[in-house]
C-alpha cells in the first residue's frame, strides 16, 4: 500500500495552481479557516519582500495587511519606476539581492513565468502575486475558499463563468482547479470571448462536464455560483460593439427570480458595469466577502510557508 506524501508547505513556493494536487488545495482551504479572525504575532520576526513590477493595489494591500495582522513586516516597492528594473537590472539580480533581506517574497510582474524564474533564483520561498496573463494562484485559492465557505463544499457544484472567458486568467485557473472537484461548469460568453480551446482540452482530459452558452438566463436555474468577469473595452475595436456586449453580459436582478436561494455571485473585482450597484445588497451578492477572503487565505499561506503554523 502506497503511503501518501505528507503535505508540508514550509518554505514552499506558490507559483501556479497547476502545481497543487487536490489534497494540497483542500489542505490550504482547511488551514485557512483558522485565520478568519486571527490576529496573533505568529510571524513576529518574519519579513516579506513585496516586489510589484506593475501596480496592483488590492493584491499588495491584502498581502501587507496579512503580514501585519500576523505580526510580520513588509519591505519592497509598489511601483516599477522606483525599482531598479528601470535601471536595467535583470529580474534575476533583483530577486537574488532582495532574497537576502527577507524571509519570503511576493512578486507581481507583467511577464509570464516571471514568478517561476524568481523562485529559481531565490533561496527563500516565492509567492506569485500575478505573472501577466499566466497565473495568480492566491486569487484562485481565495476563489475556492469563498465557494467552499458559502456553499459548504466544492465537489459537485454547478458553476457558471460569465463574460470575458478568453483573456480572463482568473477563470482559466479556476476552471482547471474546479475540474479536480467534479464541478459542472457553464461558460457564458459572447462568441468573440469564448473560453480557449486549450482549457476545453484540459477539461475533456479530466472528464469534466461543461457546456457553452450565450446568456446567463439559460443556466441560472442550475447554478450554485455565478462567477462574473469584467469585459474590457480595449478588447473591442468598435465602441458600439463594446457597449452592446457589455450590456448583454451585465447581470440583472430579474434573472434572480429563477435562481436557487443559495446561489451566490462572485467577481474578482474591480467591476465596471457587469454588476450594477443595486445588486450589492441582494442575498446573492458575495463579491465583497470574496475580496475579504483574500486576506484570510493569504494569511494562511504566509503562515504555512514561513512556519507560523504546522
Amino acid at each position: 500500500m502506497g503511503r501518501e506524501r505528507e503535505i508540508d508547505f514550509l518554505h514552499r513556493d506558490i507559483i501556479s495552481i497547476n502545481d497543487f494536487s487536490k489534497d494540497e488545495i483542500v489542505y490550504v482551504l482547511e488551514s485557512a479557516k483558522a485565520f478568519e479572525h486571527m490576529r496573533k504575532p505568529i510571524l513576529k520576526d518574519s519579513v516579506l519582500g513585496v516586489l510589484f513590477f506593475e501596480p496592483s493595489t488590492r493584491t499588495r494591500l491584502s498581502f501587507e495587511s496579512a503580514m501585519a495582522q500576523l505580526g510580520g513586516k513588509t519591505i519592497g516597492f509598489a511601483d516599477p519606476l522606483v525599482s531598479s528594473s528601470t535601471k536595467g537590472e535583470s529580474l534575476l539580480d533583483t530577486v537574488k539581492i532582495v532574497s537576502g533581506y527577507c524571509d519570503a517574497i511576493v512578486i507581481r510582474h507583467p511577464l509570464e513565468g516571471s514568478a517561476r524564474l524568481a523562485a529559481e533564483a531565490s533561496e527563500i520561498p516565492v509567492i506569485n502575486g500575478g505573472d501577466g496573463a499566466n497565473q495568480h494562484p492566491t486569487q484562485t485559492l481565495l476563489d475556492l475558499y469563498t465557494i467552499k465557505k458559502c456553499q459548504g463544499r466544492i465537489s459537485g457544484l454547478n458553476i457558471a463563468m460569465v463574460g470575458d472567458l478568453k483573456y480572463g486568467r482568473t477563470v482559466h485557473s479556476l476552471a482547471c482547479a474546479l475540474s479536480k472537484f467534479g464541478c459542472r461548469l457553464y461558460f457564458v460568453s459572447p462568441e468573440s470571448l469564448k473560453i480557449p480551446k486549450h482549457i476545453i482540452d484540459d477539461l475533456q482530459n479530466s472528464e469534466t462536464e461543461y457546456s457553452e452558452h450565450k446568456e446567463v438566463g439559460e443556466v441560472i436555474k442550475e447554478c450554485d455560483i455565478v462567477y462574473m468577469t469584467r469585459i474590457q473595452k480595449e478588447r473591442f475595436p468598435d465602441p458600439a460593439e463594446y457597449e452592446r456586449i457589455a450590456h448583454t453580459y451585465a447581470i440583472e436582478k430579474d434573472v434572480f427570480r429563477e435562481a436557487k436561494p443559495t446561489m451566490k455571485i462572485m467577481h474578482p473585482l474591480p467591476r465596471v458595469s457587469e454588476i450594477p450597484k443595486d445588486i450589492d445588497d441582494s442575498e446573492h451578492a458575495y463579491y465583497f466577502e470574496q475580496a475579504a477572503n483574500g486576506l484570510v487565505v493569504r494569511k494562511a499561506l504566509l503562515a504555512l510557508i514561513l512556519g507560523g503554523v504546522k
Binding site: 501556479s16 497547476n18 535583470s90 529580474l91 534575476l92 510582474h109 507583467p110 511577464l111 509570464e112 513565468g113 516571471s114 517561476r116 524564474l117 505573472d131 501577466g132 496573463a133 499566466n134 497565473q135 486549450h198
Partner: protein
C-alpha cells in the same frame, strides 16, 4: 509502385520516415541550407508504414543530441540511419525527451524566457498530437508551430 531513385551516400546520415511535408522544416531546423556538402531531399515518397513520407540525406554528417531532439519535435516518427561505406552502420528512432533545455525559443513574446538571459525549458506535454509546454509561461504549443 513507381520506383524512386535517391542515390546512395557513402558516409553520412539518412533521416527517414519524416512526416510528409516536413522535410523542409527539418532542413531549416538543422540549418542544412547553410551546410557546405550535398543534402538530398525527397518529398512525398511512398511508405508502407506512413502512406507518404519525406526523407533527408546528409553527406558526411553525424547528428548531435540537440539536433536529434530538434528532429523529434517536427518529425516524431523519424528513423535515423547512420551510413558508413554505403552501409547502415546504425539505425534508431528519434525520441523527444521529457524535458528540453535550451532547445527551442518560446513562441510567446510575453514569456520571461524571452526577456531575461536564461535558457528556455520545455516539457513534453502530449505525444499525439505532439505538444510541448513551456516551464515558465506554462503555455502549451503544437510542436510544428515552433519552427
Amino acid at each position: 509502385m513507381r520506383p524512386y531513385k535517391v542515390y546512395a551516400i557513402k558516409h553520412g546520415t539518412v533521416i527517414d520516415h519524416i512526416d510528409s511535408g516536413n522535410a523542409l522544416k527539418v532542413v531549416k531546423i538543422l540549418k542544412l541550407d547553410e551546410y557546405d556538402q550535398i543534402v538530398t531531399v525527397g518529398i512525398g515518397l511512398e511508405s508502407k508504414k506512413m502512406g507518404k513520407k519525406d526523407i533527408v540525406k546528409i553527406e558526411n554528417k553525424s547528428l548531435t543530441k540537440t539536433e536529434l531532439n530538434k528532429i523529434a519535435l517536427i518529425a516524431p516518427h523519424a528513423t535515423i540511419n547512420i551510413i558508413q561505406e554505403f552501409k547502415v552502420a546504425q539505425k534508431f528512432e528519434v525520441a523527444l525527451p521529457q524535458f528540453m533545455e535550451n532547445l527551442i525559443k518560446c513562441p510567446n513574446p510575453q514569456c520571461i524566457s524571452r526577456n531575461e538571459d536564461i535558457y528556455s525549458k520545455f516539457y513534453k506535454h502530449s505525444l499525439n498530437p505532439l505538444k510541448v509546454r513551456c516551464h515558465y509561461c506554462e503555455r502549451v504549443f503544437d510542436s510544428f508551430s515552433l519552427i
